[in-house]
Symmetry: C2
């Protein structure tokens, strides 16, 4: 292999491989560097979105079989290890798909830890490679808390959880944001006794209060213990278990719970430490690389995209940034709009939100009207046995859509209808200029706007 | 009960009850007439969309359990009668929902067969009721063929099929349109040996050739025998079975099959015969009532909506027409746009289409570009184990979206994203101005347009 390329991409996650594919497909000589073949696809494919959704899919089937137990006289074993085997197969299939595409686009793969030498040179395992452009996309890692250091044995990250071969009997989930809630929801279906401890006054991060409350109500119905405004104050090892004490920050009351595993889902840090960023004077903030608007570092030929910069840490954002930079390098027109980014959560009920919440609008003093309908009035949701939740849209007095949210079945797909509506700036009443198919979940929009 | 109302609505299907609800909610004295309480909800709720989708839901679970058999060591019995019991419960729950809403809106219910006496009078069981406006929404019935008369015993309609208590071992589906394909798909999952005989050269009605071919390929994989360009030439009763002969219209070859049941799904006629339409000089065409653009009959105070007029025979269309006429009567602004009507089919793979097909555009001589991606490249579809099918959009050279179609998982929901896009007249490239959630089925749009 030659050591000279048009572009070297460091990190084979969604930002990196999409960037490499786009350039390779257009004839650029591209080299993509990551630690090993198992890292291709990044956190998303290997330790995040994909394996979690595979478990969610299995969990939903388990739940559905319970609901239909008497209809079809169903018997089954909740074999977690088999669900894990299935997700490994799916990961491998998707990884092979990416590798084939990389080969078809003539992208060179180099395995090993890469570091910057200068703005045109990357070193991998003592070999130097040069390129006109370098793209950094080395992703992120799950963060510990000061008093809660991840050891991936009993105090684990989402990555560690996805490597478990059996389901923990009792688990404490620290952090009731999107990731914590997804794991809580699926582990509960697999039979874990789940306790959530969240520092903030509500779960589901900064989503609309009504979304958060609906999730809370449904979690409680499913016997998921949710403790908001709380923080861990003590952990003791007692035999095979941990005795965890957590304090309510409002009334200082302390509760305790015995668990086998503590899952820490309190956010992620950027993988920037070992890149030798000093070599090109990269500015970082809290580990995250600071870039120009076009993702270049100090307007040089080096770019950074994906989880290592301070944009939303999502695979779909990383993909767009990777393609943006590819287009930037070969001078094609490009744009990216973070306002039209749906927030999707694969809990049960599912969540899909875009734009402002009611609380956002109140805090900004923007007046708005709400349009709302419940899935319990939706025929398809009733038939699916998933009629918890609602659709809500928020619009200004002149009908401009300011925000929209679904909580309920297929919320993560339905939100794209509203994303396109907001992108198009149609008036909220125009949502009913289309005749929704029947019986569909999408009809809930019709009922809300009617 | 008084015999004088503001509005009398004849027929309590989606057109009728939605019209009655809209008017009742706004203080009008409304009377809704249908044969019995069991008819409330019309064909859609009682003999169409809802029960079919309930069976589809059960069928998909059966299929899913087969796929996951070894993952969770699943055992089950395909108890069709229990699936029917479940759908009856769901129907009853939805019917009670409508009845409660009608009561809340003070709509008077009268049970019995209604007929017109004059433009302000309806007679039900020898009692005359008068009103300023009358709305006819008596719906439709399944049609027989000249040589294939429905007896609802062995030669049955969709209504008859939904009353079966056990699954037919061998069934012939006459008509491979939307309804025929939905039944073929679900009966196959319940274990029936299904044969389709379709007169036209392709199944799935007038959908895009590629959609039709994909469905055909998937049906064949599932051992559903599909015979296009074919018609039945002979039926003989032999013991408990029927020996059915059907001829290929191209090569005149004759095939035969033994079946227990013949399902006739060749379209529907309008329930207009017993309405005494002559009393107000209603013009009909092939049983269907001819109306003005505002759905009035000869610009009188009598209106007709839903399946009895010549617009698409769909519950969601009926709903809109019912509400349109309610608004017309109380002089509110109203509109209806049949071009923004997604065509949804609850087969497996599912179908959702809107606007023109490739064949439409070719026959009109309109030049177009295609944008296409396959579900096999979609992570969520892979995880769902439903990665057959594709998304295709057709756009003019300047990027105007002319048509769109999904065949695959959740196609019937996803199509609404494209419906809103077409409604908004956004350029096809603008579909990628939103960042699709990951991993979602909706991302297939991103991949097609990229």
């Amino acid at each position: 292999m030659e050591n000279k390329f048009d572009v070297i991409v460091l990190g084979a996650g969604p930002a990196g491989y999409e960037c490499a594919l786009y350039l390779g497909e257009r004839g650029k000589r591209v080299c993509l560097v990551d630690k090993s073949e198992e890292n291709i696809g990044g956190t998303c494919l290997n330790e995040g979105c994909i394996p979690v959704k595979s478990l969610v899919e299995s969990a939903h089937l388990i739940q559905r079989m319970k609901e239909y137990k008497n209809v079809f006289n169903i018997n089954f074993d909740v074999e977690y290890s088999n669900a894990v085997k299935l997700l490994e197969e799916q990961k491998s299939q998707l990884r092979q798909g990416i590798i084939s595409r990389l080969k078809r686009c003539n992208v060179n793969l180099i395995f090993g830890k890469g570091m910057l030498i200068d703005k045109n040179t990357v070193r991998v395992c003592d070999v130097d490679y040069s390129a006109d452009n370098i793209v950094l996309s080395t992703g992120s890692y799950p963060k510990s808390l000061p008093n809660l250091v991840i050891d991936e044995k009993r105090i684990i990250s989402s990555s560690g959880l996805l490597r478990l071969k059996e389901i923990p009997k009792d688990i404490l989930v620290v952090g009731g944001g999107y990731v914590g809630c997804e794991f809580a929801s699926l582990l509960n279906y697999f039979g874990s006794k789940v306790t959530i401890v969240e520092f903030l006054p509500k779960i589901m991060g900064f989503e609309d209060d009504e979304v958060s409350r609906t999730m809370l109500r449904d979690f409680k119905k499913r016997n998921i213990a949710v403790n908001t405004n709380s923080e861990i104050v003590d952990i003791q090892n007692i035999d095979e278990k941990m005795l965890v004490k957590f304090k309510n920050r409002e009334n200082n009351s302390v509760k305790e719970v015995f668990v086998d595993i503590i899952l820490v889902s309190v956010g992620r840090g950027a993988n920037t430490k070992d890149l030798n960023l000093e070599s090109i004077n990269v500015k970082t903030e809290n580990e995250f690389i600071v870039t120009e608007k076009n993702f270049s570092i100090n307007n040089t030929s080096v770019y950074a995209v994906g989880d290592i910069i301070k944009t939303p840490m999502l695979a779909n954002v990383a993909t767009r940034e990777g393609i943006f930079v590819a287009k930037e390098i070969i001078k094609e027109p490009r744009s990216i709009n973070y306002n039209l980014l749906p927030r999707v959560v694969f809990t049960d009920p599912g969540v899909g939100c875009i734009g402002f919440t009611e609380e956002d609008l109140k805090s900004k003093g923007i007046s708005y009207k709400t349009y709302k309908a419940f899935f319990k009035g939706n025929g398809k949701a009733l038939i699916m046995g998933q009629n918890s939740g609602f659709f809500k849209a928020l619009a200004s007095d002149d009908g401009t859509i300011l925000g929209a949210m679904f909580i309920g079945p297929m919320a993560y797909e339905l939100i794209h209808i509203m994303a396109i509506a907001m992108k198009s700036s149609i008036n909220i009443t125009e949502l009913n200029d289309i005749i929704y198919g029947h019986p569909t979940l999408s009809e809930i929009i019709f009922n809300a706007v009617l």
